[in-house]
């Protein structure tokens, strides 16, 4: 078993580390565009009786 699995990481963790590093290793002109994919955002809005009640961002 690989060391990272032993430490409690899974392939999803491995994959995101690998993807982030690949983006950072790109030539400078491509790097800024690629860096935008590092994070993803979710906004959740609760609706009640047709009106937005509360929204939160992650």
């Amino acid at each position: 078993m690989s060391a990272w699995r032993q430490a409690g990481l899974n392939y999803i963790n491995y994959s995101s580390i690998a993807a982030r590093l690949l983006r950072q290793a790109l030539k400078a002109d491509l790097r800024t565009e690629a860096a935008k994919r590092n994070d993803s955002h979710i906004r959740i809005t609760k609706w009640e009786a047709g009106k937005p009640i509360k929204s939160s961002e992650f």
Binding site: A3, I17, A19, L22, Q24, A25, L26, R37
Partner: protein, 158 residues
Amino acid sequence: MAALRSMSRLLMNRNLSTTIKRGYAEDMSFTFASGNQVFYDGQNVRQVDVPSFSGSFGILPKHVPTLAVLKPGVVSVYENEGNVKKIFVSSGTVTINDDSSVQILAEEAHPVENIDAAAARDLLSKAQSQFSSAANEQAKAEAEIAIEVSEALVKAAE
């Protein structure tokens, strides 16, 4: 005796037809996409070499159906016209189906010529210092992954 013979003929016929069916799969429909780009979409190619956790292997038409998890490294695509495209994949999966179609799905993938060798070396030394200063087992494991990935990046950028 006659019954036995006709039965064995039936069995033989079945074997024959399955062989012929597999024989049709001279083409390899290849699909390769990542989070940032679609490289191939059902295109016919001659051969594809992939780095995976079960070892690096080449895929030709009529390869046995396989699933594998990608390792960071270079995927080489041998196109029908003779060109070889080298694309670095961070991670993902490769699927080889019974009909000889192949799918590679990567989280991030870029042609090797887009990798900056100096940036890759920089990442490797950063990962190494991260490893030596890691406080707990998880940070150590993460740094270890970073070393593995940046080593592959440095190698690919050469």
